[in-house]
């Protein structure tokens, strides 16, 4: 099936198998490998991207379902060489170690801050329920998001 899809501001058109997951389309077809796949039950959140402005786990969508959508991945978050405040915050507050969950964490947090620019610690923790990190114990991820919230 042919899909037309806008990814990080670029119009894309591809013939894909109907069963192809959006996460695999981004990684294998577009070679945007910043979107990671950490599980097979939509439980880890590593593949979180923005679809029409909302955080979505890209393994829960078929590529064909995303036809006509406007997608932003971690590669498209910074603009004109300036890091997004969350990308800066994760560095400043040591919000990442191995980096595998990081793109999903940042994309989830970006959605949170858009809708709730000054979240409490509890709201931040609650918003990360769908994202697993095994390295940081979440402590510094929370601080990274607080850093970005202050900055934005």
């Amino acid at each position: 099936m042919n899909i037309k899809i806008k990814v990080n501001g670029v119009e894309q058109s591809h013939d894909v198998e109907p069963r192809l997951l959006l996460s695999h389309y981004l990684r294998d077809t577009l070679r945007l490998t910043g979107t990671h796949i950490g599980c097979d039950t939509s439980g880890c959140g590593a593949c979180t991207i923005h679809v029409d402005g909302k955080a979505v786990k890209s393994c829960t969508m078929l590529a064909v379902q995303a036809s006509g959508c406007d997608i932003v991945t971690i590669e498209g978050l910074s603009s004109n060489g300036t890091l997004h405040p969350l990308q800066e915050g994760f560095n400043q507050e040591h919000g990442l170690q191995c980096g595998f969950c990081t793109p999903g964490m940042i994309m989830t947090a970006a959605d949170l801050l858009k809708n709730n620019p000054k979240p409490s610690e509890g709201e931040i923790r609650h918003s990360l329920e769908g994202n697993i990190c095994r390295c940081t114990g979440y402590h510094n991820i929370v601080k990274s998001i607080q850093y970005a919230a202050k900055k934005m």
């Binding site: 198998e17 069963r19 990684r27 294998d28 070679r31 945007l32 490998t33 910043g34 979107t35 990671h36 796949i37 950490g38 599980c39 097979d40 039950t41 439980g43 880890c44 590593a46 991945t73 971690i74 590669e75 978050l77 910074s78 890091l83 969350l86 990308q87 994760f90 560095n91 400043q92 040591h94 990442l96 170690q97 191995c98 980096g99 595998f100 969950c101 990081t102 793109p103 940042i106 610690e121 509890g122 931040i124 923790r125 609650h126 990360l128 329920e129 994202n131 697993i132 990190c133 095994r134 390295c135 940081t136 114990g137 979440y138 402590h139 510094n140 991820i141 929370v142």
Partner: protein, 790 residues
């Protein structure tokens, strides 16, 4: 050497972060090689079964299928080896059955690989595995190690009687321990299970094997913690191919926690098959396969007894453990319940008589091996549960009981190291110091009052303590060799000064989240007196880095950092000779301070960059000195390092539901000299979360058929962000006396100290309302806690 420290001890932000925060990290599954095909496995749905028949004909005809390999095809290839030999008490060597790349006739656990299907796309490979027809005869299985040793239990390997791989003991003779125990005024006894855990690195294991016919050379990209070790094991023990014809690359790796130390069958299989079919092959584990097959951790069934005299002094410790090894021996599986567990039974205490008896057992389950802490969390759990429970039973304060039994402070220089009853000699320690600091931070004096007040308001509060010690950077090679290690445990560090004075450092350590690219650069920059930007840390490629033993056991800085330090010493010594020649003085007259080679007592000096250039453009140069400024060193430590700490948990239990909430967590850790406090704290946070995960959330459940009944993120309870408060961390510094940086290691500390603190806190809460519970099975789910209360 540099007199000022611009970087060491500072929370320098990580230089590696940018690639990860912008999606530019390069993990194995991100790599696509030209012509690459994809593999998928047919895996046994049964634990113990006979394979009666395999029919691959239909699958072979499926679209895109390139080849299918079964057990018969790889029967002549060795299995993956075990890296540590443990002997029976009578001196017999352990039982070491073959761990084949593919199973030919008998499966031994759910997930055992039966066929490897290779196709042009991942989807085609997955379609084709569905078309492989396997006829199994299901047999009875056993999953619990204490049950598996009983007469009549189903056998995992027909030639291993009673499923016993080894029996082993350490410490004082049993008779002496029994005698000391008989004199005890009080004996605290605990029968418990240290449950099986899944490491759950967020990046699933991924391998690409690639063979180049023209050079007869293989390349393996692997999500590993130690590329050189994988190359050595795979070449020398499994495939029998020459080591110089194999390149192993561990690119960005998404967490390991032990599970990516080991040499897995799939690594050898993709490498071997790539030559057979003449194409690169990628296999990436799905999460459901990770649950089945990434080496699990813990899984001990233990009875432990601690005897106290009437004043609370510990007289004796007696331990009997059945350690589940799984169906085969993973790389370091045998040393975990023995030399990384039995040797830690002294804890921080002066216990005069200790006997540890461990039986290593095969069961019809996935392999068990090192998982963050590896043996040390199990030992710490046992000791710290006995201490807090003993205090409750004797009606004494758990902190006082510890102060009464601590080994007194010693720095390992003026005072000698402490010789334990269980083989180790501790390097340096101040155990009272960390507990004092922990008590201050938590406000212990006020806590008991708060606990009573809370009880008045219908709330249930508890406090739990854990004062742990661990052993890191295991070495020296000669000693571990005498204990059964089949490898050396040194590290390699090469420092290459480029002609312009910029520095490339090649380390055998491997970073998969630890931040070596930052920490190691801090050390090198300070020691050479140059900006950090001038230092590049290179790791993870066997063709680039001379050799290495990799990263595990909190060894990177203590062992890998020390190897780099040795090379820096050689650079500075040679630099002095070059400077002396140019400045026309003798070598002894030159000192190296703040990046300058200076004639002592004068202002005559040459910069580091000038010396570097001279070494590569040796026009004015000592006659008998080689050009260049590039040194490689092997560092074999003199002893283990022994970090220690005090963890205190405060929990609240919901009386209606039994749900435990972690209200506060205080961690005071002494990991020796700290290079980057931000990174050390991050390691502690992550370790604590994993330890709390074991106490409250995680645990593999095997059913009686040998199936994992919670093998996905829908079922296995991973700790999430809203399970934790902000952690409260403190530190103390007792330098390691026997390595050049004074560092001890911080990677596993959090995971070792935290678990018993949380369980002790729950037990304390229950005792505070008269529920005198000895043990709660981990994970302490609401149901288990509610049942203990009602």
């Amino acid at each position: 050497m540099s007199a000022t420290t611009a970087y060491i001890g500072k929370s320098v932000k990580r230089v590696e972060d940018k690639r990860f925060t912008t999606g530019k990290g390069k993990y194995t599954d991100d790599i696509i090689l030209p012509g690459m095909v994809h593999g998928a496995f047919v895996r046994s749905p049964y634990a113990n079964s006979k394979i009666k028949k395999i029919d691959i004909s239909k699958a072979k005809a499926m679209p895109g299928v390139v080849a299918i390999f079964t057990g018969a095809d790889v029967a002549a290839i060795n299995g993956v080896p075990c890296g540590w030999q443990v002997n029976f008490k009578n001196g017999d060597t352990m039982k070491e059955p073959k761990h084949p790349l593919l199973v030919a006739d008998r499966t031994k656990h759910v997930g055992d690989p039966v066929a490897f299907v290779i196709a042009n796309t991942r989807e085609q490979a997955k379609d084709a595995i569905e078309a492989v027809v396997v006829e199994y005869e299901k047999l009875k299985c056993v999953t619990n190690p204490a049950e598996a040793v009983k007469p009549g239990a189903p056998l995992v390997h027909d030639d291993v009687p009673n499923n016993i791989c080894f029996d082993w003991e350490l410490g004082n003779p049993k008779s002496e321990v029994d005698e000391a125990m008989s004199k005890a005024a009080h004996v605290t006894t605990l029968d418990f299970v240290n449950q099986r855990l899944v490491p759950n690195a967020m990046e699933p294991r991924s391998y690409i094997g690639s063979y180049d016919e023209t050079s007869d050379k293989y390349t393996l990209y692997t999500s590993t913690q130690n590329p050189h070790l994988i190359r050595l094991l795979m070449c020398a023990f499994v495939l029998g191919i020459p080591e110089h014809k194999v390149r192993v690359v561990g690119p960005d790796v998404g967490g390991g926690f032990g599970s990516k130390i080991f040499h897995y069958t799939e690594e050898a299989l993709v490498t071997w098959c790539s030559k057979q079919i003449g194409k690169p092959i990628k296999w990436t584990s799905e999460r459901s396969e990770s649950f089945l097959l990434d080496a699990h951790g813990r899984d001990h069934v233990t009875k432990a007894e601690m005897g106290f005299d009437k004043d609370g002094k510990i007289l004796a410790l007696r331990v009997k453990t059945f350690a589940n090894l799984g169906a085969y021996l993973s790389t370091f599986s045998t040393c975990v319940p023995t030399y990384l567990h039995g040797t830690l039974m002294q804890g921080l205490y002066t216990t005069p008589k200790i006997n540890v008896d461990v039986t290593g057992v095969f069961t019809h389950t996935n392999v068990v091996d090192a998982y963050r802490g590896a043996g040390r969390p199990e030992a710490t759990y046992l000791l710290e549960r006995l201490l807090d429970l003993g205090a409750l039973e004797m009606g004494v304060d758990p902190a006082d009981l510890r102060f009464k039994n601590f080994i007194p402070p010693f720095d390992g220089v003026k005072q000698p190291g402490y010789q334990t009853q269980v083989a180790l000699q501790y390097d340096s320690g101040n155990y009272e110091g960390i507990l004092k600091k922990g008590l201050e931070m938590v406000g212990y004096k006020d806590f008991r009052k708060q606990q009573k007040e809370a009880a008045g308001n219908g709330k249930l509060l508890g406090i739990g303590f854990s004062t742990y010690i661990e052993a890191c950077g295991i070495a020296p090679s000669a000693v571990v060799g005498s204990l059964g290690a089949r490898a050396g445990l040194y590290e390699v560090g090469q420092v290459r000064v480029q002609p312009t004075g910029k520095v490339s450092v090649f380390t055998g350590s491997h970073s998969h989240g630890q931040g070596h690219e930052t920490t190691f650069a801090q050390v090198v920059a300070d020691k050479l007196g140059i900006p950090m930007e001038d230092v590049d840390i290179i790791h993870g490629d066997s063709d680039t880095v001379a050799f290495g033993m990799g990263t595990y056991g909190s060894r990177s800085l203590a062992v890998g950092g020390s190897a780099i330090m040795k090379s820096i010493d050689k650079i500075v010594a040679k630099g002095k000779l070059i400077a002396a020649h140019k400045l026309e003085v003798s070598g002894e007259d030159i000192e190296f301070v703040d990046g300058k080679f200076t004639v002592k007592g004068t202002s005559k000096s040459l910069t580091f960059g000038e010396i570097a250039l001279t070494a590569y453009v040796p026009h004015v140069y000592p006659a008998d000195l080689e050009p260049g400024l590039d040194f490689s060193s092997f560092y074999d430590p003199k002893n283990f390092t022994y970090p220690f700490g005090c963890h205190i948990a405060i929990v609240e239990i919901d009386k209606e539901t039994g749900k435990v909430s972690l209200k506060r967590f205080v961690a005071v850790d002494d990991v020796g000299t700290v290079i980057n406090p931000m990174i050390v704290e991050g390691q502690i946070h992550g370790g604590v979360a994993q330890g709390v995960g074991q106490a409250l959330h995680e645990g593999v459940e095997y059913d009686e058929e040998g199936q994992i009944s919670n093998g996905s993120y829908m079922d296995y309870c991973m700790p999430r962000a809203d399970d934790f408060p902000m952690f409260e961390t403190g530190s103390q510094v007792t330098p390691c006396p026997h390595n050049p940086l004074g560092v001890k290691g911080a990677g596993e500390a959090g995971c070792i100290g935290s678990t018993p603190a949380v369980v002790n806190a729950v037990v304390d809460a229950l005792w505070s309302v008269g529920k005198k519970v000895k043990d709660l099975r981990m994970p302490m789910t609401p149901e288990r806690v509610w049942n203990a209360m009602n």
